[in-house]
Symmetry: C2
Subunit: 389 residues, 2 copies
């Protein structure tokens, strides 16, 4: 197949490799691009695939003096003397410089099938912890997580701290100012022996927010594990910032742009830590693509701007805040003992509804893992199981 897509053109001064992809014009592949991909054993360790030379030192005006396609192999002779054979299948994969993971799929409440709430097209991405040991099942879970930014696990052990074992299945634990693992616990007032200042320990609702927006970098993925829940309220909430921000961008492109460029200050102050991060609310990656938000109204300060800009920024923040709490976007479900949610803390906001602490105990444990490790597992398993996108 590859051979039909690639074509060698002989010119008086050089040979050229061209590629013709469906619905695209034929594209010339620069000799330098090919030269840096050398598989010569003196230039690349074929076990690790790491280069043994510094490709930035190759001459910019390097040329292919001779090219020949034989089956899947491309035989190349370069003007600097190197002869090399490259796999066309590998070159084809390499034309697109992506991170080899599924694309994100923005979602709203109505997309999901939740009994008594909504009747969307998709069941929630809900997986059995006991089956996650199977590679193909694990790969399905990872695919959903990368696409939707969250995942539910059920039938996990409910012993305290078992979350650490579960989290390590997905990635490296990330310690924060809350420790390696933190407790979100509410006990009936009659049994309380002390009063905690932490909002999470009270029975009030928590609006959608991202955790630790005052960190650089923020913790990438959060896991929240339900050990006990005897109350009737206390629903968990999740909101996809990709869906919300797409709406904001369509409604108010100027407001959206302001939120991608205007730095706000996020801060956390305690006797142990003084954490400050100055950054825009909407976060973009190195390619200018939106990856998520820093959003926690409690912890966030406006910069000093002129009055019209201040009001414009505030209007965008108000709309964003209101969309995050809009039932069309804010997904509600009840986490039962043995259930766990894992979500991309950059992309998916979380919160909870109020509950009545006199009804009984409510105990969750939480922790963070690095953002890129589920993607690493995805790549590894999709190669092993020979699944392609």
């Amino acid at each position: 197949m590859s051979a039909c897509i690639f074509e060698v053109r002989h010119t008086p001064i050089r040979d050229e490799l061209w590629v013709k992809l469906p619905n695209q014009d034929a594209t010339y592949i620069p000799a330098l691009w090919l030269r840096t991909r050398s598989e010569a054993p003196e230039e690349r360790d074929l076990g690790t695939r790491q280069r043994l030379i510094n490709p930035h030192k190759l001459a910019t005006d390097i040329e292919v003096t001779q090219a020949l396609i034989t089956g899947d192999a491309l035989q190349l002779q370069f003007s600097d003397g190197l002869s090399n054979s490259l796999s066309l299948a590998r070159l084809l994969r390499d034309l697109k410089l992506d991170d080899e993971c599924p694309h994100t799929i923005a979602w709203r409440t109505a997309d999901w099938q939740i009994p008594a709430f909504t009747k969307g097209q998709r069941p929630l991405p809900r997986y059995d912890w006991r089956t996650l040991i199977q590679d193909d099942y694990f790969l399905n879970a990872l695919t959903d997580f990368i696409q939707y930014g969250f995942l539910l696990l059920h039938d996990t052990p409910t012993e305290p701290n078992s979350l650490l074992t579960i989290a390590r299945r997905f990635g490296y634990l990330r310690e924060t100012n809350f420790g390696l693992l933190f407790d979100v616990r509410s006990i009936p007032p009659s049994e309380q022996t002390d009063f905690s200042d932490d909002l999470a320990y009270r029975a009030i609702g928590l609006d959608p927010h991202t955790d630790n927006p005052y960190r650089t970098p923020v913790p990438g993925i959060q896991l929240l594990h339900c050990l006990e829940n005897q109350t009737e309220g206390g629903y968990s909430t999740l909101v996809d910032s990709l869906a919300v921000c797409a709406t904001l961008k369509a409604e108010d492109p100027t407001g959206y742009a302001l939120l991608t460029t205007t730095p706000l200050r996020f801060e956390y102050r305690s006797s142990q830590a003084q954490l400050v991060n100055v950054c825009p609310v909407i976060e973009q990656d190195g390619r200018g693509q939106m990856i998520g938000v820093h959003f926690s109204p409690r912890l966030c300060d406006l910069p000093l701007l002129d009055e019209p800009s201040t009001r414009q920024l505030q209007a965008a923040l108000a709309r964003l805040s209101s969309l995050f709490s809009d039932p069309s976007y804010e997904l509600h479900f009840k986490l039962m003992p043995g259930e766990l949610i894992m979500f991309d803390n950059n992309r998916v906001l979380h919160g909870r509804t109020a509950f009545d602490p006199t009804q009984g105990n409510r105990h969750l444990q939480g922790c963070y893992i690095d953002r890129d490790t589920p993607r690493s597992h995805y790549r590894r398993l999709s190669q092993q199981l020979n699944r392609t996108l």
Copy 2:
């Protein structure tokens, strides 16, 4: 002092707070900016300073109906009914939305006093581990680290794994695909029992690079601890990417801009991890300020661009690579047993010169910590010790 800088202007429709900073025009401070900074106990928990309300819900057209300065206090009456008193000193500090840390100072080799090498103005930022227990000494070390992006410690214990204790003094440990702690060890060939594939285990030199550019996010700060060094070569090297990129930007603004916007692919492949990051070489923060580079020629692939763009990108990479290894920028020093370097892995590249493994053992241990924790310690201590920038 604050009172002279601030001024209340009464207009027929509202009171206005203005500030006049040295060498600047008087600036109006929007009512909304003041309103979100309310210190009212029903709106802010004064212990944690966290807000109890969502400030994004405040009306954009809020006004100050009455303002009065009394000493350091600003008494405010807002159009939504709130009366509040704010500290002018706090408002003054708050006008500038920064992260309350020292600014970076770019450096070259010639800036440092290194016996037998260079005779610059500054001694290396070198601190005694045993004295680091003292807050003011620790604060000096943190200040140097934030300004220069690196630090040396001496008189540390040389027992294996003591690095973990040292690292925890500065921040939370960050586990990676190399474990919580990794060994860089070379033993004389005659004593070798197996052959390792890892370049770090060989005696060859390593050009300046940043670690794990294929991670998202990359490990923020690296610590390298020397336990044993019986060889004569094996000098450690450090390069400040801020200094190098400033030179590149002055020489070739187009090339510099290309490196801030063109995504390259960085990758690490093993049976355990498949880590891929697609991002530009020069990394900027949310405010468009350069924070460092992703740079590791062994692990980096060019994107497919047209031929002129490919050559332009390659020329910029070649120049960058050559500047990183230029003796004017690449600092060399020998790490002796009990010494340790800690450096900002985003900003400061590291490497080592070749050595002769037949001369004896060379054993370093390394680990990573989060990027923002030394800054947190800096803020905490500078407040405690009442030091200001």
